[in-house]
Symmetry: C2
Subunit: 201 residues, 2 copies
């Protein structure tokens, strides 16, 4: 944890950029806002902006890196006697609580994401990173072998697909429904299969 004047100013500039960007995005939309405007509002040169954020999109997902890191940590430190589904359920509960706590901010962000194809693409890119992480965890759990790797890949894909779909549904309700319950139900589908549930009923 370096805490000199340098690091402090860097953190301030970074925060100023995120805030400036959010303000401008909200006021005039993502695409209509240029990096030059953001930099100017944060009292920085255009060139320097790119030393803080490699792309404009990164302004919308400023803490995605650390979130993924946290997810990896959670996967690595889960109790070893758990089955993968138990781990998934616990993590779903954790993240659902987090999303519910910050529902307002997350819903605003989601609205912004939906407004731009670039941001949607970036969101899917992030999902892909999560899927890869989950795959690694599942592959480790399932032992070696090409067969186990295949199953891990498929389950990871299904899990992320299910989670993204659940989130979209939750967003569409304005965050009013119980996200944890929705997530657990989605995992029920995965664990027990869609057979009984979809065709009849």
């Amino acid at each position: 944890m370096p805490s000199g004047l340098r690091e402090q100013k860097k953190a301030e500039t970074r925060a100023a950029l995120v805030k400036a960007a959010q303000d401008l995005f909200r006021k005039q939309g993502y695409e209509a806002t240029t990096i030059e405007e953001i930099a100017e509002l944060a009292s920085i040169s255009r060139r320097t902006f790119f030393r803080y954020f490699p792309t404009k999109e990164d302004l919308v997902f400023p803490q995605q890196e650390s979130r993924l890191q946290g997810f990896m940590m959670l996967l690595e430190t889960h109790r070893p006697e758990e089955t993968p589904f138990e781990t998934l359920r616990n993590l779903t509960a954790l993240f659902a609580a987090d999303y519910t706590r910050h529902a307002e901010r997350i819903l605003v962000q989601q609205e912004l994401i939906l407004s731009s194809p670039d941001l949607l693409a970036r969101e899917r890119e992030i999902d892909r990173a999560w899927e890869a992480t989950m795959f690694e965890y599942l592959a480790k759990w399932g032992g070696g072998g090409r067969e186990a790797e295949h199953r891990a890949r498929v389950l990871a894909g299904a899990a992320i697909g299910v989670i993204r779909a659940t989130l979209r549904y939750w967003f569409s309700t304005g965050g009013t429904e119980d996200l944890n319950q929705l997530g657990q139900e989605a995992l029920d589908f995965l664990e027990q299969g869609f057979r009984k549930i979809v065709p009849m009923d």
Copy 2:
């Protein structure tokens, strides 16, 4: 079907652009190839290129529009007594056969896609469109109601996630394994659940 000189020339120019692009991409890579080079090789101006393809990425997925249209047609004209899973299995068989038939071309294209983040993003965008289409079909099948919609959304997400994961695995084997069998196995997971399959084995 208009068939004047105009349409004919347009089709020729479009084909010439795709061919020029594929040649250049293969020779020097996607990102290293500029639109100006492609346009020059196809003997048209840079400006005219954008009248044929809205973006550079579209050159790599030239027939995606019609493929999705075909998918929608297949979903709409499936035999009405089928359950969704039967339909999914039939379509999986169809597409697996198609992919296997054109395996060589598809593997080359996949290699190209993997070489560029932009192309990967576009591929995910296409997946999203397919997921939306499948969701519409499933939602129609499952009757009305918010509950049914939710299940349709989750199943569509899981299905696309599973298919994409299966394709990735198939690509990683160089297209040597039986794609239809892999796909049907993936659908087995979805239909019967991962419970019995993943934890024990």
